[in-house]
């Protein structure tokens, strides 16, 4: 059973990840075309460590789902309400893969898959919603002109590259999260250099 302490830990870590990631996302927007491919890739490197830390600290069922739900809510406050269903799906998938929260590698992979779903949101939404849908549901991000450009930009070739790039980035981010967690938040196994 999850305690209040655990819920607060998860929420705080999710918010730290989300705020820093949002800042980074704004900057990656500056990369122009490249941002089409890596969309959420950079943000993953911040959210990854906070997720792995939360999962290892709490180690209880529901941690992953709650983490992604909080991310969805923060997205909503920042004007991306449409992300809530996507983060919930990501959370459920993550929860299914993660197992007993005792294996860092498994946690990293579960995160990578969930983050991949999250990072594919722009492509999924573009394909599912089309120009009109984008303007209707994601007006905070797209004007009609931008939406049209976006739909035109996502050719099959671009989508293929984007999927490949994001798979790699999300996997790296997951393992980066495990690396940071092992280095700073787990019991150290380092040998001392001192005598």
């Amino acid at each position: 059973m999850m305690k209040l302490k655990n819920v607060v830990q998860i929420a705080v870590l999710a918010v730290i990840g989300c705020v820093v990631a949002f800042g980074i996302s704004m900057l990656t927007g500056l990369l122009g075309m490249a941002s089409l491919y890596i969309s959420a890739g950079f943000a993953a490197f911040v959210i990854g460590p906070t997720f792995v830390i939360a999962a290892r600290k709490v180690q209880k069922r529901g941690t992953a789902l709650l983490f992604w739900a909080v991310l969805g809510l923060v997205y909503a406050i920042l004007g991306y309400g449409i992300m809530i269903p996507i983060t919930l799906i990501a959370g459920i998938v993550c929860e299914l893969i993660i197992g007993k929260y005792d294996n860092s590698k498994r946690i990293a992979i579960a995160f990578s898959v969930a983050m991949f779903i999250d990072s594919m949101h722009s492509i999924l939404l573009t394909k599912i919603l089309g120009v009109e849908g984008l303007v209707k549901y994601m007006s905070s991000t797209f004007s009609p002109e931008q939406a049209a450009q976006m739909v035109a930009a996502y050719t099959n070739e671009v989508i293929l590259i984007a999927v490949a790039v994001n798979v790699v980035l999300c996997l790296l981010a997951g393992f980066f999260g495990a690396f940071i967690n092992n280095k700073f938040f787990e019991k150290s196994t380092q040998q001392s250099k001192l005598k």
Partner: protein
């Protein structure tokens, strides 16, 4: 006298947190309208709402808005290359998002007690409400804490560097996470000791009924959205 005046203003002058949240969503749809009048009205309304919460923050945001606006105008005149185009795009995006940021700021500045009560009105589980309100509290402090970490780094002679992104990330991230987790532990003990887990009926220090101002604001928001959809 002044005390009772400020109390009255506090009770009746501000919008219900749920109204603010609804307005955030409504404004999400409104700010990208191609109608400059509608954008102008939305923007002005958002500044007014922020003003009702804090004059100082409102002025700060106004200055920031004017600055970004100036940069956008300047870039639009000199824009030619890819880089200036990207910066212009970013400036326009910030301007478009500004009304939402204003309302979001007003929401974040709302008393945690009010937000917490509003969440209870929505029948969200207590632990989730506590988690979110605590997270909002930390949201406010993250920049302050990062500033202290930067001071600590300076003294020890460590600097952020693009050439060492992982090291830079560690320098900021690790103390930040540890600090927030430490504080959250004390905070949770404190609120548990204050009976947050009590399962009986709870009350509110503030009058949390929806008021005339809430109705008017929501009506205006929906009406504007109607105009936006109709004109487009």
């Amino acid at each position: 006298m002044s005390r009772s005046f400020s109390r009255r203003k506090d009770q009746e002058g501000y919008l219900h947190p749920l109204t603010l949240f609804a307005l955030t969503i409504l404004f999400t749809f409104l700010v990208f309208t191609r109608n400059p009048w509608l954008y102008g009205i939305t923007c002005a309304a958002s500044f007014l709402i922020l003003l009702s919460r804090s004059a100082r923050t409102c002025i700060k945001n106004l200055v920031f808005y004017a600055g970004i606006f100036g940069v956008a105008v300047l870039l639009a005149h000199i824009s030619s290359g890819f880089t200036t185009g990207a910066f212009l795009g970013l400036a326009i995006l910030i301007l478009q998002l500004f009304p939402i940021m204003n309302i979001g700021r007003a929401l974040v500045m709302t008393s945690s007690t009010k937000i917490f009560t509003a969440m209870r009105q929505l029948h969200l589980p207590i632990s989730l409400s506590v988690g979110l309100v605590t997270a909002l509290r930390f949201l406010d402090e993250i920049l302050l804490r990062l500033k202290e970490i930067k001071a600590g780094m300076k003294i020890r002679g460590f600097h952020a560097s693009l050439l060492h992104p992982v090291r830079t990330f560690e320098l900021y991230f690790v103390p930040l996470v540890y600090k927030c987790l430490h504080v959250s532990e004390t905070l949770v003990s404190s609120i548990i000791a204050k009976g947050i887990e009590y399962e009986g009926e709870k009350t509110s220090y503030y009058d949390m009924r929806f008021k005339f101002a809430d109705g008017i604001s929501l009506f205006a928001g929906v009406a504007l959205l109607g105009v936006a959809l109709w004109t487009s």
